[in-house]
């Protein structure tokens, strides 16, 4: 599978990454190698196999609708953010 420059730039934009010119090419080569490696799986015929979404074979792991005291306080959680104002997380203006 061919990875074009536009693909890398598109993925970078979706992921909010800023890339140097040189990184665009090297990332493209890396990604191409990864996809080539994974593509070995294409040799297998999986048309009659159900997709595996998770490997533990659990289902219906539900909890009760009951409020529990949290270990972390608001102050502790807010302390993890870079900027805080009026008990809220302050971010550059987005619209």
């Amino acid at each position: 599978m061919d990875i074009k420059r536009e693909d890398i730039l598109h993925l970078a934009e979706l992921s909010e990454f800023t890339l140097d010119e040189s990184e665009v090419d090297s990332l493209g080569r890396d990604l191409k190698d990864i996809i080539k490696y994974i593509s070995q799986l294409d040799e297998l015929d999986t048309s009659k196999i159900e997709p595996t979404y998770q490997v533990f074979e659990m289902e219906n792991v539900w909890r009760e609708d009951k409020i529990l005291e949290q270990d972390a306080t608001r102050e502790e959680l807010l302390a993890l953010t870079k900027h805080e104002k009026d008990n809220q997380i302050k971010v550059p203006k987005v619209l």
Partner: protein, 470 residues
Amino acid sequence: MKYLPTIGIECHVQLRTKTKLFSEVDNDARGKEPNSCVSPVDYALPGMLPRLNGEAVRLAILAGKAMNCGINASSRFDRKHYFYPDSPKGYQITQFYEPIIGEGYVELPSGTKVRIEHAHLEGDAGKLTHFDSYSLVDLNRVDTPLIEIVSMPDIHSAKDAHDYCKELWRLMCFAGVTYGDLYNGNMRFDVNISLAPEDSKKLGTRAEVKNLNSFRSVERAVEYEISRQTKLLNAGEKIIQETRGWNDATGKTTGQRSKEEAKDYRYMPEPDLPPIRLSSEFIENEAKKLPLMPSDYRKLFKGLVSDDILEILLDYPTLMMRLNEIDKKYLKSISNLFASVLLAEEKTAEYLNDLPTAEELNDLASMNEKKELSSTATKEVFLKLFDPQMKNRGTKNIAKELGLIQENDLDALRKIVDIVLEKPETKKAQEDYRAGSEKVLGFLVGQVMKESHGKANPSAVQEILKKKLS
């Protein structure tokens, strides 16, 4: 050229669970400090594991059944990726491939059926407040359980769009899955509108108006879009596929950032949440808890309550339950009383928080039927049944205390009439009546009413006067 509008609506409903969809914190953040209802799971700290709230699954089953939908035996969650400060995870947990609620339909009061494509469970996003040079993030709303209901494009007018949203709101409130507080965003509507020539089989390019939170704004936004798109098409221009914002004050939609490329959310299965598998017994058991729906009441009350009155009362689920308990022969008069109060009084909704009992309402209608209460007095006693000072004393006691019970005892009334006719100031009126002046009868009835302190039944008094003066 004549164009046919085609409208599809997506509706987000916040579920009334105690805790959030994936964490054990308080889901009711009304009146609470920002970021005070947030767990490390909502905060998306590394290593946190979401755990599904079973109550949200149960409410989703009820919501689905309220819309005549199939419930899927198997459903699961997916990650929808996007970067925005309202979502610390960097993705929304939703059900993209296998939703819990399958196809169904909603029938509008007009009889129009709007098919439901599917509905799914997902977590809400946080709230952003924008300032001049920065934005503030409050994560209280992160992962409040939502069901998103996706309709088929079966709606073709602004009126039907309004009625569909209102009926959905009623269904969700009757089913008890949401608080249904539109002002606080408990239900939000995204409306897709396109126009195509009437004889065309292909749909036109659509515009999406997002985040409408009232039925009226849905109706107005659709009206505006129909006229905007008609003008563009008539001028030979193309409709751009875009998201548009609604401004309630100007009554207009405006284009927001137009997306040149298709959205790319890179959906992938959510590995942290095992799938939901529901046995048919479990689904049936939950579905049994669904109370009567608006369409059931329309059938039950048909011919007993007028359609107009019923549609007013159908906004209030607890009221409908109470009306269903009262004697059918009193349904009409009691419904009319409620409708007149709801139309005339400012208090509406909170008036209905604590309803009179079926017995109190039956007694009231029965006293009115027996003419023990005049229609004015009936309404007065009706209002007192809601009065915290008066309620729970029983209708008869309240009517007695207020001295509103009409005197229907004919012997007693005759005595009062005799007293009045003895009074010198009524002599002239008596003569006039005998001389053929019918209108003085009203004066004499008034005098009797005064003498009885307003308790006499006026029509009975009139009959007695006529006999005595003939």
